[in-house]
Structure formats: structure tokens, C-alpha cells
């Protein structure tokens, strides 16, 4: 950990939260507009950003966001999949701490819980909030819903689900 946790500190700016959502979407293979819709009263992007900063420190998060920013501005443009593969260092047998942080960010969105990256020695595994669970996205990749939280009607289970894109997945891997 490069700086002490700030326990959230002041609310990040709208632009920072949008950047974090864009980066998260690329890392996870989801549509950015799905995880951060125009009207977003729950604001998981902001909550997760602050939570991650509190865990690993502002300096490390700023470095990751800068790396994402640089990759996003490359010409010719990289696809979302290429950005994810680069940040996650998928071809490296020994991913850096920054790549390990990316893993924790994916897990946070997918599973609603914080799984401390290996370098965070005092990290505690925890469910971040009730809404982090009820909006967790691994279930969407199954074209389903979190167990215990469904908005589908009686009998939906006897018919096939809608397409994966309806569940927010960026199936094309592009931007």
C-alpha cells in the first residue's frame, strides 16, 4: 500500500467516477452505459471507486486511472478487450500489483464483495453493501439474477432468457 487508506474522503468528481465506470466496463466486458446509466441513483461507480481508494490508497488508484486514460487515447484506438488484457497483464505469469488491483475491481463488480489483492496484507474480505450484492454482475453473465433478488415475473424460468446484451454484457468486445 503506497498511501494510507483515506476511508473514502470527499466525494470524487463526476468525471473521475465516469472514468472509473468506463475502465470497469472495459475490464469486465460490460457496457459502460449499463453499469453507469444516465440516471444512476445507486451510484455504485462512485461507491466502488471510493471503496477501492480506501483499500489501496489514492496514489495507486490515480496511477491505474492514468494508465487506463493513456490506453484509451492511443491511436489507432484499442478495443475494450485489448485495454482489459493490457491492464490485467493476462499474458504475464507474474502480474503487477496494479493488475492485481484490476482483478479486485472486477471481483467487486461481479460479486459485490471486496477480495483483497495479495499485496493488501491487512485487507478484509467483505460484502460491500446490500446493493453491491443485489446489483452484482456475475449473475448477469449467466443471464440470471442474484439469488434472492429478482425482478422477473412468475414462470419466467420455464422460458429461455433474453440475449446476453440485455444483461449488459458487451458481447462484441469493442469500445
Amino acid at each position: 500500500m503506497t498511501t494510507p487508506p483515506n476511508n473514502g474522503g470527499s466525494a470524487p468528481s463526476e468525471a473521475v467516477v465516469q472514468d472509473f465506470a468506463n475502465m470497469s466496463a472495459a475490464l469486465m466486458g460490460f457496457q459502460a452505459s449499463f453499469i453507469r446509466p444516465f440516471l444512476d441513483p445507486v451510484n455504485l461507480s462512485g461507491i466502488f471507486y471510493q471503496f477501492a481508494v480506501a483499500q489501496v490508497g489514492q496514489t495507486m488508484m490515480d496511477a491505474l486511472m492514468s494508465a487506463f486514460d493513456a490506453l484509451s487515447k492511443q491511436t489507432p484506438p484499442l478495443t475494450a478487450q485489448q485495454i482489459a488484457d493490457t491492464l490485467l497483464e493476462v499474458s504475464s505469469p507474474t502480474p503487477s500489483n496494479q493488475a492485481l488491483l484490476c482483478q479486485s475491481i472486477i471481483a467487486m463488480w461481479y460479486l459485490g464483495s471486496w477480495y483483497p489483492p495479495p499485496f493488501q496484507k491487512d485487507g478484509l474480505q467483505q460484502v460491500i453493501s446490500s446493493q453491491a450484492y443485489t446489483k452484482s454482475l456475475a449473475w448477469n453473465t449467466a443471464q440470471a439474477h442474484p439469488m434472492g433478488f429478482s425482478a422477473f415475473p412468475f414462470g419466467y424460468w420455464s422460458q429461455p432468457p433474453g440475449p446476453l446484451t440485455d444483461f449488459g454484457v458487451n458481447t462484441g468486445g469493442g469500445q
Binding site: A84, V90, A144, S158, Q159
Partner: protein
Amino acid sequence: MSNGASPQYDVVIIGAGVSGNLIAKQVGLAGKKVLILEAGLPVPDSREEYMDNFYLALAKTPEAPYPALAGRTGNKDHPVGKLPDPATLPTPRATVLGLGGTPETSYLVQAQSWVATHPDDPAPPQNPPTAPNGDVRGLQFSSTFERNAGGTSWHWLGTSLRELENDIRMWTKYQHAVDWPVTYDEMQPLWAKAEKEIGVAASVVQQEPLEVVGLEYPPGYQYPMGPIPTSIVDQTVSQGVSGLQVPGTLPDTPGGSDPQMYDVFVTPTPAGRNSEPYDDRRVCAGNTNCIPICPIQAKWDPTITLGKALDTGNVTVSYQSVAYNVAVDANNKATSVDYYVWSRDSAGKLQKESKSVSGKIIVLAAHAIENAKLLLLSNNWKGIANKSDQVGRNLMDHPLYLTWALAPQPLWGYRGPLATAGIESLRDGEFRKYRASFRMEIGNEGWNFATGDPYTTALDFIQGTDNSGVNPKKERLGGTALALKLNDLLTRQFRIACMFDQTPLQENRVQLDLDSYGKPVNTDGLGIPRPKVEYGFDTYTMEGFRMAAYVCSQVYKQMGAQEFTKNNVGGTGDFTYRGVNYHYYGAGHVVGTHRMGPDPYTSVVDSSQRSHDVQNMWVVGSGSFPTVCTANPTLTLLALAFKSADSIIAALKSY
């Protein structure tokens, strides 16, 4: 009452669960005064409180929503949070997270035989020991239960199958185990009453194929509401097993063989969840969460019946009231119940106040293990109602064998109620002379039960591990590649759970955790000795496991599915039979500890669940089942509670 005063209540009931609440309601409707002593907390004002406990629990075990046990943060030593010591709690209970633990985390003191044979050896052997007759002893009893208003059936699945005729006459038909002291014909109207109370969704026409195992309904019978639709998982398995037959026994089954071929087919499961609005409750929305908690109470639970009991105006509940003695006079009459009312002071310290209450009739409805514990605790820990020496014995479960596989095409689990169909066609046959019968439940929750998915597989592909068994190359993925990989795997996952009609054994038992001087070893926070359990399987039961593993593999093979079942060795819930490892889970179906029967010398209660020895005391619930049978027990234990209620109301006329 011991001073000659009139009893304070007509009926004192210990426990506000399935049986206790139903009897309270029926007796209250008859105009009699009832007190329920409930050890735990009241039903919360809103189930949102329990839902939040569930959402925030790291391990979403059956106990997760109910008065919190584990902290919400984990670390290396306690991945799902540190468990409280049962010795500090007023109403500790058996929990999934406490399984395999020492008495510092496990309420049930598990009397594994290595403790007895190797007192100086802290490490269990690699496998549980085998007795000379082939039985495996020293196994962990893996079922858990709740102690709060509503009881364990807060998290029942809703499965409302009836027992089969041969389930309840095993000795007469197959010369194995024992008969029940009630007939199939006698049970029919009782099941109908229970189905109405619950609101069971099913279709008699859909159940008709099960005539091959002896399932019959009275002419013209209809369930209270139409069936719950089957899932795509069910439909896929149903098509996949078309034409499949399996033999009654495998080669070299001890005792004999049943070479007959039995058809394997799928039928929808009668369910205690609404297919239409019923009793002012809404229809099932398929939250896939019947266990641990239905978020919308579309599934019946005993709190609904408790509400109706209170509405009679004749029923009172005393919460946080833990019974520890039933006083019996020289005429074998139960006179009063002694109990502690517990509370916590402003500093959080546990306080208790001892009280006593009298009733014309006393009903123990505290759960199979807690009923046995209370009977053994009474009379200064010498026990009551135990002329037969059967109190606490014959402890049974539906030991559950879980198998799982990937289908060749998506069948979209993680949707709908947890289970909507099963393979019931193998529940009866001549093979029951030689091996345990079983039912097979098809799950709609992917590999959630099997591997903890979607968590395990998702983390495997995020972190490059292979705890699921589906990432042997330990790939690390991100972006769309990750989402599509998970989509491919999660939508093809399914599982089958087999539940066995295990043999009742005298040595499988609940006792008080006392030392050889009669002093308590482990107690709860009120100072009450805790239950110590001994458990094991005979070869008849284990031969059922062998057959179940074979049948599941045949099902997967015929479907073109790839099986991923993993059986460990040497852990709690593991055993080895004929060189093959098996892992079993508890089903929560705790049975047998105060068995009913016609003979006071071989059973604890009669067919009305009335004590043979103490005439004004009833001991009710699944503990009265002489055998665990092949259906999930809630419907039948509720049916038996109707019979008990009628006998209690009749008996009150003479008191």
C-alpha cells in the same frame, strides 16, 4: 400446579415452529388457552432485516439471514468472519459454518469416535473407522437448525412430496427398519389438511406416473392450486433421460440382488410456494432463494400459521424463553415447565431469570434434537418419558449426496425456485431389502450448492485459479472474454441431489454432553448442557450411495453432460465405501429421536405423538418419525401435527 393450584394454561407448547404453531392454532380455535414458550427472538417486523443479513453475509449458508452469527468481514484465519462461541449464546444452534468445528464453534458436540479411542490424539484419522459389521462410525452429523419464532422452516425448500405407502411399512414389505404406527389410508386426509394449510402447488395428473412407486391419491383429490412451472433445467433432464433404465441393485450388493430394471423419469415437485395468490400472499417470483429465505413470502413458512394462532385470541407467546425442565409428578403427570427468560443488559451481558408455568397438557415441539435434549435434561438430567430407552436414539437425516455436471448446451440455471422437479421413480422397489432408497432432486441454482458458484468459477477466471475444476489451465481473463467464458460455463451448470432413506440405528443418538461423573462438559450461555451426537452409516445406507453415484453418472452420460462431481477424503462429511470416496451433506431433515410406535417398550410416543409414559405430554415433530422415508419431511410432520392437535383437543375434555 405443584402447590395444588389450577394449571395456568390448557396447553403449554415448547417451540414456535411447524408443529407447535399448528397445534397452537388448532387448540386456540377450539377455545382453549395456549402458551408457547419460544427460546429465540420474535418474528421481525419486516423481513428486510433478515434479507439484509443475507445480502451482507460472506457465506450465504442456510443460517445466514437469521439472528447474526458471523461477523461480516473475513480475514486469513476466518475467511467468513469469526464465529461466536456457543458457550456465550442463550440459544446457540447447529450451523453450517460451525460444522467440523470444535465445541468452541459448533453447538452440537460431535462425538466422533476418534475422540473416544484416541483421547490424546488431536488429529482425526484419514478416514472414519469401520466397525466389525461394516458400519462406518464416528461420522459428523451435518444437519443444522434454527432457534427463533418460525423455526428451521424459515429455510425449508418448500418440497411437499407425500411419503409412499411402502415408506411407512418398511418392515412388513421389505423386512428392513420398522413400520410406522399409522396406515397410508389414515395419512391421506392428514396430508390433505397439511397441503391446504401450506398451500401446495401441484397437479395430481402430473403425479400419476408415480403410481409405479405406489403413490396414490383419493378419488377426485385436487391440490389447493395448480403446479409451479418446471424449469428449462428440468425439461432438459427430462428429455435427456428418456428411455433410461437402471437395475435395482449393482453387482455384489450384500444380502441379495434385485435385477429388475427401473424406469428413470422426471416429475414436477409439489411445492409449498404459490402459483397463484393464496392466503393473502403473492405468487412465486423465482428469486432462486427458497433456502435460505424467500424475499417475498411466496413460500409458506410457520410464521404464517403462528399469525393465525395469535388471531384466535387464545394463544400467547413468551419469547426468549428457554425450557430446561419438564416436571413430572409421582403419577407420571407433567405438571409444569421450568424455563429461563433471557435478556442482555445495557453492557451486552447475558441475564437470565428462572420461571415456571403449568399446563393441563405439555407439548414439546422444539425440534428433533432439542426435544430429545429437553427430555433428557428433565428430572435433574436423569430423563423422563424414557422407559423405552429410545429417547435420543435412531437419529437420522436425509444424508445428501450431491453430483454436478455441465450440459452440452445452455439450460439456464440460477433462475426460478431452487428446485421444481425431481426423479422420484426410483423411490421404491424390491431393492429396498438390500440397499437404501433415494429420491433425486434436480437443482435450478447451477453449481451454487456444489461449488459456491458463481463466485468460485468467476474468481477462478479472474485470478487464474482452478477451485471449480473448469479452469485446469488456470487462465486469467478479463473484458468480454471473461464475460463470455462465464456465460458459456454458468448457463450449462446443473446438479442432482440424492437423499437416502437411511437405516435407523440405536447407536446414532443424541445425548447430553456430560462427563462420566454426570457433570456437563459443554454448556450454552445459560448453563444448560449441550447435545452430544453420535452418527454413522450401515452398509445398507452406503450401498444406496453407491447406487446413487451410478444412477447420476448414467443420467449425465445419456444426456451427453460432463460430470464434475468431486468427493474428498478425510474431511468431515467424507467416508470411503468399497474403495470409493463419498461426501455427504445434511439435508436439515432431522428425524427419529423420539420415535413413534405402538409399543411403550420400543418407542417414545404413540401414533398421536403422545408420550407412552407421561400421559398428558405430547412430543411432536420429525423426531417422531420411525424412519426418514423418501419424501422431504415437512409436509408429513405438519400432517401428524393435525392428528396430534385433534388428540389434544379430545384429551382436554377429560382434564
